[in-house]
Symmetry: C2
Subunit: 418 residues, 2 copies
Amino acid sequence: MNRTASPWQLATRTARMNPSAIREILKLTERPGIISLAGGLPSAETFPVEAMREATARVLRESPREALQYAASEGYAPLREWVAAEVGRNGLAVDAAQVLITSGSQQGLDLVGKVLIDAGSRVAVESPTYLGALQAFVPYEPEFVTIACDDEGPLPDAFAARAKGARFLYALPNFQNPSGRSIGAARRAALARAAEAIGVPIVEDNPYGELWFDAAPAAPIASHWREGTVYLGSFSKVLAPGLRLGYVIAPPAIFAKLVEAKQAADLHTPSFNQRIVHEVIRGGFLDAHVPTIRARYKAQRGAMQAALAAHLPQSGPLACSWQVPGGGMFFWVELPPGVDSDALLVKAIARGVAFVPGAPFFAGEARHNSLRLSFVTVPAEAIERGVAALGAALAELHDETAGRRPRRPAMQTAAVAP
Amino acid sequence: MNRTASPWQLATRTARMNPSAIREILKLTERPGIISLAGGLPSAETFPVEAMREATARVLRESPREALQYAASEGYAPLREWVAAEVGRNGLAVDAAQVLITSGSQQGLDLVGKVLIDAGSRVAVESPTYLGALQAFVPYEPEFVTIACDDEGPLPDAFAARAKGARFLYALPNFQNPSGRSIGAARRAALARAAEAIGVPIVEDNPYGELWFDAAPAAPIASHWREGTVYLGSFSKVLAPGLRLGYVIAPPAIFAKLVEAKQAADLHTPSFNQRIVHEVIRGGFLDAHVPTIRARYKAQRGAMQAALAAHLPQSGPLACSWQVPGGGMFFWVELPPGVDSDALLVKAIARGVAFVPGAPFFAGEARHNSLRLSFVTVPAEAIERGVAALGAALAELHDETAGRRPRRPAMQTAAVAP
C-alpha cells in the first residue's frame, strides 16, 4: 500500500476513537463451546416474540402507511406520552414534550456529546464507568475527570471539588455497568445538591433500573434537579435490544438542540419500530412481562453468587472481592493486586470461558485487576461451569506467575534500582 | 426565566445548527386542505405492505432471537452481501466487507462527517445541494466550498480550481435533491479524474438512482476511482423510509473508522429491520417492485410537467424556467430575478399549496428566486390543482409588487444615492 498517495485525511478526533475492547472479545466468544460471561446481551429467552408478532401484524394492518413513512424527529407522539407517564410512575414528573425518542440510548449519549462537548471540555465520569458512554463522548474530544466512588457511587464532595466547570457529570445510578453498584436515595439528593451548587448538570443514564430484584430503585437523580438533568432510558433490557429504541428526557434549555442533532444524525428513529413497541406496551404489557425478567435474572444472579463463592478464593494470596448487585446484569470482581485480567482472559478462553477485563471501563488510571461478569446471557448451569473455569484459570495464572517470580527480579536487578 | 443561572453550556458547534427549514414548512402542510408539493416523502401507495407482512412473520417465526438481539455494528451479513451484489449490477464492483449498514443514508452522512471533517476543514458541495447533507456536516464545523454547476452537475474545471485541499466533494449524481439534475457518464469520469489529480476524495450519495424513468443512470462516479470514493445508498425510496435503512460503501482506508463511529453512534442498525428487509428483497422482489414505482412516478412527473407548462409563464416579466428530470422526485423551478420564493410561499399557502423555497439548499450565496416541487407525494390530480394555485400565487405576488413598486423608490429617494 502506498500510504502517502491516500486522498483520505481523517479528522483529528478519529485518533482517539478505537474499536471497543468488548467487541473484540465478543468475537472470541463466538467460537463454539465458549461460555460467554462477557457480553452485555439480555437473555433471548426474555424476548416477547408472541407479543411482537401480534403487534407487528396489527401495525401493518391498521397503520401501514404511517409506520413505513418518514416521521417526526422527536418520535411517535403516543410513545412519547407513554414514556412520560412511565418515568412519572418512577418518580420523575415530565411532560411528553420533553421526551425525544432515540435509536437506542447509545444514540442519546451521542446526541448529548454532540450538543454539550467541545474539544477540551471537561466531562466528569464515575470510576469505573460505562464503556459505551466513553466511546460516544470521545469523538467530541473531552477531557475526562474521574470522580472517586465508593460502594454507593460517586462521592459528592469529590465531585464538587473536582468537577467545577465541567460540562456535565455522567452517572449510571442503577446497577451500573460495569460495577453493578447503585446510588442510594440520600446520595442521589446529595449529588444533585452538589451539582446545583457548582452549576454542573447531570446526565443520568438508566438502562437497567427496571431490572431490580429486591426493591425498586430510589427516585431518579433528575427528580432532585429537573432543569439541570438529562435522563436517558431504553427498551433494550425490558423488551429487546434488536429494536434499537431508547429515549432522552431533557429540559427546555437544550431539548431543541438535541432534536436538531437527532435530525442531522438519522432524521428519526424508525416509525415502524416505534409503533410496534407502542402497540406491545400500551395496554400494560410490561407490568406482567418485566417481573418475569426480574425473576429469571434474580435466579441467575443467585447462581453466579453461589458459583463465585464456591470457585473464587476470598482469602489468601488469591483473595478476590465482589459486591452482590441488587439488580441489573453484572458482577464486578476485584482480583488480587498485581493480577492482570488481560492475562487471565487468555487462560480463561483456553478453558472455555470469556469475561470482560475491567481496564477499558476506566477513563483515568485503569485498575487492571478487575473484570466484569454478566449473569444474564447464559443459564445457571453454564454460569456454574463458567465461573469454575474462571477459578481454575486464576489458579493456573497464579501458579505460573509464582513459578516465574523468583527468576524475574534476578533478571532485572542489573537494570532496576532497588 | 433566569437565563444566567442555566447550568447548560452548549458546544460551540450548536451555534451553527438550525432546525430544518423544510421541517418547519412541513408543519404548515399538515393543515387540512393543503396540497403539499413540499415534502420529499415517497408515495405511501408504493409501500409493499403485503411483502413486509409476510417477511416480518417469517423473521419472527424463524429467527426471532437473532432479530431481537444485539448484533454486529457492520450490519447483517446477508444484507451486506445483497448490497454488494446490487451495486455490482449497477457498475460498482465491491466486496461485502466494504459495506456498512446504516440507519438511513442520513446516518451515513453523519458518520462521514464525523470521520472526515475537522473544524475549519473545507468541504466541496454542489450548488444547490441536498439540505440534509449540509445539516449532517454542519455540526463538524466545515467551511463549505461551492462548486459551480451547469445542467449536468459540477464543472470539473471549477472543482479542480476551487477544491484543492478539501476533505471531499459531496455529490448527488442521480436526479439530485433539490435540482432533479443528473451527472452524465463523461462528466462522472471527468470529475473522478479531476478529484484524483487534486487528491480530493468524493462522497457519492445515491438515494434516487433506481427511480429512473427513461434510461438507467450511468455507472457511479465511484466506479472510476474506487479507493477515492465513499458511496451511499438507501432503501427509503425503493421500499419504505420508515424502516430507516441505508448503507455506506467505503474503501479500506476509512472503513474501520466509519464502523467505530457507527458503534459510538447507535451500536448497530436494528437487526429486526435488517432481517425483515433482507427477507423481503432476497428473492428478487425489487426487480418486480421498483418498475411499478418508476411507472407511477413517471406518470406523476408527466402530470407536473404538463401543469407547469399550463400554469407558469415561460416568457414575459414572470418567465420561469425548469428542467424536466429524468427520474427521482423533484422539479426545480427558477423564478424571475427578484421574486423571493419565501414571499411566494406565504401567498401559496393561502391558496392551499406548499413547496420548499430554494434558499436553504445553497451552502454559499443563495438564489432566493428558486423553489423545489415534489411530484411523488400527491397524485396527479392534486399536482394539477397545486401547480395551478402556485401560478395564481405568483401572479398575485407580482401584481402586489408591481402595485407597490412606484411608491417605494419615491419613499427611498432621499436616503439612497442614485
